[in-house]
Every structure is written in structure tokens, then in C-alpha cells.
């Protein structure tokens, strides 16, 4: 097993790219261990409807990164106080589905620090009935990774703020998130330490019995590919939002001039059908606006562009274009 030092990069798009690169392009017979923390980020599961999981306004106002992972499951909020770990290895048939194998060294380390962690359910680590770690796996071409979060010192107030408070606005067949009670590892330590010391301790336990910590040093060529993967997948709207399973949006808003009710059908990130109802008074036929929305990405900037040359007051009365587009999210 080799440790990959990510140089303390906090950008999830790069860390996911390192993980994917080690999975699909490095030595297929090697096991790699990667750790990463991140700036405030919401990560949704492979088959989730992104907009259904996040609090759009909060995420935008607070510059929270939104990303989709390759593995399944529900949405999580993480920040600099999270230390995620990833074992990237050969899918030998016995590792696949085996969360115990990958969480065991972590549990052992935690217990030695006085944290009474245990693997419960299928893939969660809990302390006193509260979650400290969620784990997920992805497999492709005889390789797999098993990765998990470790809430060391995450700002728990922001967890609830960044995740969508109103999932009823959306109807989709995507995977729904399950809210869990969470706690930080740091509050359970026998002796306090910071996240860097915590990471060092984990490394020692995971490589226990080995001479030092063997490292795979990413080369310039590796980094070049990693940045390409980050750009192509993890920073790409089509992956982060567009990949969402088909969903329906139902948004209503009461403006001083009347109520607006919008229904959208979104497939592969594009609006396939749009219907606008309401009692706001305007001159133009609202079907013209509906037609403008069809075929456009369900993305604020693209919707603004699609309506750029329309006369808002003719169709929407006292409601501005911005107000109208904002209410769609």
C-alpha cells in the first residue's frame, strides 16, 4: 500500500480527480491511500438530484462548492474540519462490499484515541449513536475505491443550512438523502489534537507494522492528467447538475402583483417542459416564455440568457426577469 500526499489541497474537484486518476490510470495492482479535507462543500451521491439536495441560496451566498461523487448514497456537507480517507485498490471480489475491511484500521486508531467508534448499519461509523463517518464505494474495471468522511471538527451549524430545507419542491426518482444525527470526533478525544496530528496518527495506524510510510509521489505528468479530470468531470456543470436523474420542479411564489406557479420537467439537465400559471397580470402570452425555457439548461445564468431579449413587463408585469429566474430555484 502506498500513501498519496495531496499537498493539503482543499479543492474537492482536484481531490476527486486524484482519486479517480489513481483508480483508473495508476498501477492496477497497487493499493493507494489518500486523505483530503475541503473548503465548505456539499457532495451529492452519484444518482442524486443535485438541486433537490442543496440549499441553493445558502450555497451561492456562502460560496459553498457543490460536487457530485462517483460513489452512491446521500448528500453530505463537509469543510476544513473533515478528513476524508480513500482506499483505492484492486477489486478482488472480497473487498468489494466489505466496509469492515476499510474502516477497521480507522476504528482501531479512533479507539486508541479514546473515541468509542463502531461500524454500524452497513457503512456508517458511529460514536454514542451519532454518526462521525459515512462510507461509499465505486468499482470499475477490476478496480474499486472505498472512501469515507471523518467529521473531526466540522461546523455542524452549517450542515443543516447548506442542505435543502424544502425537498418538496422537487419530484425525482433519484436517491434521497437520509438525515442522521452527527457528532465531531474532536469532542470525544481522550487528549485534544488538531486535524494534522489526527491525520498523522491515522497514517501510523493504517501503516502499522510497515517500515515507514511508503509513498507514491505524484509526478508532473500525473498532475497534468489530474487537472484534466478535475476540469472535465468535477468542475463540469453537466456532471455536477446535468447528471441528475430526471426530475420535476414545482415552484410557487407570491409577488406583490400576484402569484406565480411554475412547473418544469428536467431531463439530463435540460428543461423539457415548462408550464407557468398564476394571477399576475400582464399583456403578453405566457406561452412565449414557456417556449423560451424549453431546451435550456436548468441553470440560472443560462435561463437569464434565454430571456435576455424579452420585454419582462410585457409578459410578467411588475415581476422582473431576475425575480422570475430566481424563483425557479
Amino acid at each position: 500500500m502506498k500513501y498519496i500526499n495531496n499537498q493539503d489541497i482543499m479543492d474537492i474537484t482536484i481531490n476527486f480527480a486524484i482519486e479517480e486518476y489513481a483508480l483508473t490510470e495508476l498501477d492496477i495492482n497497487e493499493t493507494y491511500l489518500l486523505f483530503y479535507s475541503m473548503t465548505p462543500t456539499v457532495i451529492v451521491g452519484k444518482n442524486q438530484n443535485t438541486v433537490e439536495e442543496i440549499n441553493m441560496d445558502y450555497v451561492r451566498e456562502n460560496n459553498v462548492t457543490v460536487c457530485r461523487r462517483l460513489s452512491g448514497g446521500g448528500a453530505v456537507y463537509n469543510d476544513e474540519g473533515d478528513l476524508s480517507f480513500s482506499f483505492i485498490t484492486k477489486d478482488d471480489g472480497s473487498s468489494f462490499n466489505n466496509y469492515k475491511k476499510f474502516t477497521e484500521p480507522v476504528v482501531r486508531a479512533l479507539r486508541n484515541m479514546g473515541v468509542n467508534a463502531e461500524l454500524l448499519g452497513r457503512n456508517d461509523l458511529l460514536v454514542d449513536g451519532k454518526k462521525i463517518s459515512g462510507n461509499a464505494q465505486f468499482s470499475t474495471r477490476g478496480r474499486m475505491f472505498s472512501h469515507g468522511t471523518l467529521m473531526f471538527d466540522v461546523n455542524l451549524d452549517n450542515v443543516a443550512k447548506a442542505l435543502n430545507p424544502d425537498p418538496e419542491k422537487y419530484l425525482s426518482k433519484g436517491i434521497k438523502s437520509v438525515r442522521s444525527r452527527v457528532t465531531n470526533i474532536r469532542d470525544h478525544l481522550k487528549e485534544d489534537m488538531d486535524i494534522h496530528q489526527f491525520k498523522e496518527m491515522l497514517l501510523q495506524y493504517i501503516f502499522e507494522g510497515e517500515k515507514g510510510i511508503p509513498e507514491y509521489k505524484l509526478t508532473e505528468k500525473d498532475w497534468k492528467r489530474i487537472m484534466e479530470i478535475a476540469e472535465k468531470r468535477y468542475r463540469n456543470w453537466d456532471w455536477v447538475y446535468g447528471k441528475s436523474p430526471e426530475f420535476n420542479v414545482k415552484q410557487t411564489k407570491r409577488f406583490p402583483s400576484g402569484k406565480v406557479d411554475v412547473r418544469l420537467e428536467v431531463k439530463k439537465g435540460l428543461i423539457e417542459q415548462a408550464a407557468i400559471f398564476g394571477d399576475f397580470f400582464a399583456v403578453g402570452d405566457i406561452h412565449d416564455i414557456e417556449k423560451r425555457l424549453v431546451g435550456v439548461k436548468y441553470k440560472r445564468e443560462d435561463l437569464m440568457d434565454a430571456l435576455t431579449d424579452i420585454d419582462a413587463s410585457y409578459y410578467l408585469g411588475k415581476i422582473s426577469k431576475e425575480e422570475f429566474v430566481n424563483m425557479l430555484f
Partner: protein, 127 residues
């Protein structure tokens, strides 16, 4: 383990059923059992091209996300949309209700290269 004799099998645990020049594809009983409860099936759309040994979709189970590999190349004619609402069909009925796609093969010789039931059974017993 159910391994119907009349089907052909790939090393990636897909089954193939030849029907008047068309090919129906799904995953095997062995595969669904390994994956556990399936919660989401991601498939291509009718009209898409799939390529032998390349991913054409994925399944998410309660444990993991795994890619699906096309056993043969060709054009997707039909997609089983029932799996959108009922991914559990993959566990309950992998060879019947949970067929995934129907493909118009672009190279019939690829079908010949697939395993028969006995060879597939031997392969999984050795895994």
C-alpha cells in the same frame, strides 16, 4: 444460483438473449446477489451506441456503485424504463423483468465469443 441454459454470458456478469437479430441484455443472478439491494439503475437512451467491453450504465446498490459493461457493440433499440421506478426488479427477476436494454448488434461474431451457461457457471465457481 440460476443460470438459464438458453442465454449467453459475459465475463462482466451480463446475460445476453438473442431474439430475431436483436439482443436483450441484463445482469445475472450471481451479479445481483453480489451487489445486494439495487436502488438505482442508470441506463443509456434508445438510439445511443454501446461498445463491447465499455460501460453503458451503472447500478447503485445499498453498498456500492458498479459500472455495467456492454457484452456486445451496437445500437440501443429499447430501454427498460420500468427499472426507473422499480430497481428492485434486478434483485427479484434478473432474467425477466429486469432486462436492461435491447441492442441491434453491429458485429454478430461478438455474440459467438460469449460464454454458454456451463462456461459461465465454471467461471463464477472459480471466483
Amino acid at each position: 444460483m440460476n443460470i438459464p441454459k438458453e442465454l449467453k454470458y459475459s465475463e462482466e456478469h451480463e446475460w445476453v438473449k438473442v431474439e430475431d437479430g436483436k439482443v436483450r441484455i441484463g445482469i445475472t443472478d450471481f451479479a445481483q446477489d453480489e451487489l445486494g439491494d439495487i436502488v438505482f439503475v442508470e441506463l443509456p437512451e434508445a438510439g445511443d451506441e454501446v461498445e463491447a467491453d465499455e460501460p453503458f450504465g451503472s447500478v447503485e446498490s445499498v453498498k456500492t456503485v458498479s459500472e455495467l459493461y456492454a457484452p456486445i457493440s451496437g445500437k440501443v433499440l429499447e430501454v427498460n424504463e420500468d427499472l426507473d421506478d422499480s430497481p428492485e426488479f434486478v434483485n427479484e427477476s434478473p432474467y425477466e423483468k429486469a432486462w436492461m436494454i435491447v441492442v441491434e448488434p453491429s458485429d454478430e461474431s461478438e455474440i459467438e465469443k460469449l460464454m454458454d451457461a456451463d462456461a459461465y457457471e465454471k467461471m463464477i465457481s472459480e471466483e
